[in-house]
Amino acid sequence: MSEQDVASGTKAVGRSMTSGKVASLNRTRSTVRLGWLVPTLYILFLMLPLYWLINMSFKTNQEITGAFSLWPRDFTWRNYAVIFSDPSWYSGYINSIIYVVLNTVISLAVALPAAYAFSRYRFLGDKHLFFWLLTNRMAPPAVFALPFFQLYSAFGLIDTHIAVALAHCLFNVPLAVWILEGFMSGVPKEIDETAYIDGYSFPRFFVRIFMPLIASGIGVAAFFCFMFSWVELLLARTLTTTAAKPISAIMTRTVSASGLDWGVLAAAGVLTIIPGALVIYFVRNYIAKGFALGRV
């Protein structure tokens, strides 16, 4: 399928516009009317397991294992109270947020100049460098888990936030470069040239003029860095033991250690969903744009 087919398709469409078959307007209308059902059903399917998790987080353990109920009969905040009063639980959230934010900042800081280079200049080996960066996004983290542990041990970084942040750069930096390059290529080059003629130095031009122009791109890139760092567990778990352990790893451990405290497990799960939900709410108007560039 190519653009030609589209062109010929629209040409054919255009030709018969003159013949004026307005009668068929209604037929396409009627199919649209039932269209809302599809996304609604899909969202329902998405929400059911989530509802069950939230439902469980407000139940007592007796009710979860004993009676089967579609909503909490014996409503309780106890599960959340457990998490917020126990440092070994809530420190997990703090750890996760620290390394996710660190990772987002590092990824963007190094990706911005690189993306500028890829979007504005041709240089020796640029295409291969770009592909090599992308292969790191595609490399299975399981391959790297073991040498990562050794590498970060050698630098004395095991169980620090920066170790996880750096490890996640492996797939987030290429991603950020890819997204930002797309947004930057959309900015006309004349703007750069005019700024240089006006006597702007490169760093000043970049920060004062260029970055505001691609602000939405930076937002989208930050969103995806946040997302992939937040959801990743394998590397985060391998590189931490206690002091920087992410919440998702604490969840798995506590479940096996303290028997099965289903209520607390559900509450912890609900709490891990909230930061993502907040972030997605704030960037909702930019997501479609980011996806439109086809760069995820």
Partner: protein, 290 residues
């Protein structure tokens, strides 16, 4: 955009290069080194030559995991891509429904992967889960812990739940970029729903669809956390995919040599597929420009 030749641009790329090289090249070299040696810990290594590669290529365990993984990726693509397109076609184009749909649909993408596993583990349990309980009350003998088919079904449905939204959002982004004039022309022409899809919408989605296929293949081919949480690779080895097997070997049994050899073969397969996809993608882009 025509870009000027300037090798000084390398200085702008240097930070990325240093950072990614640190995280990618040193570990990759280490994996290559491990793959030709045997160790009993304490940093003592013994030359093993190509034995581990030989073993891996002749091990039923490896091939079984590879075929299982390919089958899984195939099923995932066959379900998620058409479903994603179908849902995207029926998304509202304007009004209050758009942000609501976008936010709710993107939600599963931002849940930590092991929490996704936990959600489905709980949801499918016969004793406390809504799904397991409902199926049981309908008289269906469903148990994802013991029955291989149920385990597979659970993992596939979980992945559909987790990732179809990505396909939907990509296709939706492709669809909203189609100018209204196209649709109006088609409507006046009396074009059927199918020909609108076939000749207007599908071509416009081609690029994003390629990306969706690429991403879904890659991510399903290296899936680890979700099935590990739900089934732990069981029953038996029925849902042991490549990454699960690899982690079992490297960290569970500390068989560093065989794990490294397997990693490299795994990585080469991924590299080959990525290169083919990447080449196709960039050349499709070029074809459209001309």
């Amino acid at each position: 955009m025509d870009r000027t030749w300037n090798n000084k641009a390398w200085f702008l790329v240097l930070p990325v290069l240093v950072l990614v090289a640190f995280s990618a090249i040193i570990p990759l070299m280490t994996v290559v080194n491990y793959s030709v040696q045997d160790t009993f810990g304490n940093n003592q290594f013994f030359w093993a030559g190509l034995d581990w590669f030989d073993d891996t290529l002749h091990s039923e365990r490896f091939w079984a995991a590879l075929w299982r993984n390919l089958l899984f990726s195939g099923i995932i693509l066959a379900i998620e891509i058409p479903l994603g397109i179908f849902i995207a076609l029926n998304m509202p184009k304007r009004g209050w429904g758009v942000p609501v749909c976008l936010v709710l649909m993107a939600l599963p993408l931002l849940i930590p992967w092991n929490v996704v596993g936990t959600i489905w583990q709980v949801f499918g349990r016969v004793d406390i889960g809504l799904l397991g309980r409902t199926l049981a009350s309908l008289g269906i003998d469903y148990n994802y812990v013991q029955d291989p088919f149920d385990a597979w079904a659970t993992i596939v449905v979980m992945d559909v739940w987790h990732w179809t939204s990505l396909v939907v959002l990509l296709c939706y982004a492709g669809l909203v970029s189609i100018p209204d004039a196209y649709y109006q022309a088609a409507r006046i022409d009396g074009a059927s729903r199918w020909s609108v899809f076939r000749f207007i919408q599908l071509p416009k989605m081609q690029r994003v669809l390629l990306i969706a296929v690429l991403l879904r293949f890659m991510d399903s081919f290296m899936i680890y956390t979700e099935p590990f949480v739900v089934t732990g690779g069981g029953p038996g080895n029925e849902t042991t995919f490549l990454s699960i097997d690899l982690v079992k070997m490297a960290i569970g049994q500390f068989d560093v040599g065989p794990a490294a050899a397997m990693s490299l073969i795994y990585f080469l397969i991924v590299l080959l597929v990525s290169y083919v996809f990447y080449t196709v993608m960039t050349n499709v882009g070029k074809g459209a420009e001309q």
